[in-house]
Symmetry: C2
Subunit: 249 residues, 2 copies
Amino acid sequence: MKRRMKATITYDGTNFSGYQVQPEKRTVQEELQKVLTVMHKNEIVQVTASGRTDAKVHATGQVIHFDTTLSIPLDRYAQALNVQLPRDIRIVQIEEVSNDFHARFSVHGKRYRYIWSCEAVQSPFRRFYATPSNGVKPNVMAMQEAAQYILGTHDFSCFCAANTSVKDKVRTVAKLDFEWHGEELHMTIEGNGFLYNMVRIIAGTLWEVGIGKRQADELASIIASMNRGNAGKTAPPHGLYLESVFYND
Amino acid sequence: MKRRMKATITYDGTNFSGYQVQPEKRTVQEELQKVLTVMHKNEIVQVTASGRTDAKVHATGQVIHFDTTLSIPLDRYAQALNVQLPRDIRIVQIEEVSNDFHARFSVHGKRYRYIWSCEAVQSPFRRFYATPSNGVKPNVMAMQEAAQYILGTHDFSCFCAANTSVKDKVRTVAKLDFEWHGEELHMTIEGNGFLYNMVRIIAGTLWEVGIGKRQADELASIIASMNRGNAGKTAPPHGLYLESVFYND
């Protein structure tokens, strides 16, 4: 009998060409499917995630689903996977869900985190995990002020990478906060959905406000323009973490 | 004119075959000397550290010295090195010292840190930076009790890797403390000097006390035996950090 499994996973994106399978590349999806397929005696197991993440982007709370025919008890399933998975992917939690649960189509919202390290000399231990500011301390008040323009429901074409096929670019950003953790600045953003590169373009644009390259109130006209060219640079991938995916449980 | 420079450096040991130059291997010393030699127009610059660290061992406060003929002002010297060094080595601080300062011979003491991650599933972000306990929570009280036997001045032959040429194995351990940082257990140890693998063998032995494999008071007979075979396993290198080197300033 097939059981549908929902798993919360975490991965260090450094050595992956992103989440989604691509020929000749090391991806998170491929590593998961490889292990599951071996466990299922070469019956191919397809894994579906809440969405893809780009190369070098991390996840602390990505969600996937897959169907299993194995009778491994639930409380041992995560460990059975973890012993076979590479150390840069870990199953945090696994549960059995009804067959109509879908890791992507059932999503109600997501939370991402973006981290900048603002010490004068970036710790070598943070080089893959936070974007260095090379000692620049941004004006977080200005970034918070600019963030107010992003909150709410808007057509976010200005924050969407040009190469996308999505037509409806209206999304709702419910929270957008900044917090210092020592000398690292964390931005967290929650919304009902995010366009391709949206979090990284928002991070890059707000950073430009923080370092005085733009004024906070420019955000109003940037959003209204619906033009990617008016927003800031796409922030580097290695500062980004997919932190939570929300479902109606 | 030659100036002697003392630098505090930090490195992520993951991708190094240790500190000391070895043929055909990537080492911290080699990377430092390569950059300094290029900066000195191919005049070979020798770098001397407080001591070597093994493959995969990290440093947050290693100290080196070298002699320079360059007239780069002191406040720009660290940056001049950092822009050329690989991102897994950073110069934290640099100062000019008298010619009789020697990074190794002038050492008065060192502090190391050893980290175990004790969560049920080790975060992928910690896989190169802490030793996983696979969910085991050690008895830290017992480890602290065992640590009391190590404090003070002893012949530490029992905690010295067999393949060493050092004759005098008497050292003084001045501090040995445990502290939880979330679900990670940190051991810090300070002393006037450490034998080859001494910190890792102490960590491995105290861990065995923590998980009930040994009694705390066994430490007395282990030390008295002066026999490496009676101590515990050498703890893995990637949990170890050289944190500070002390000099008489």
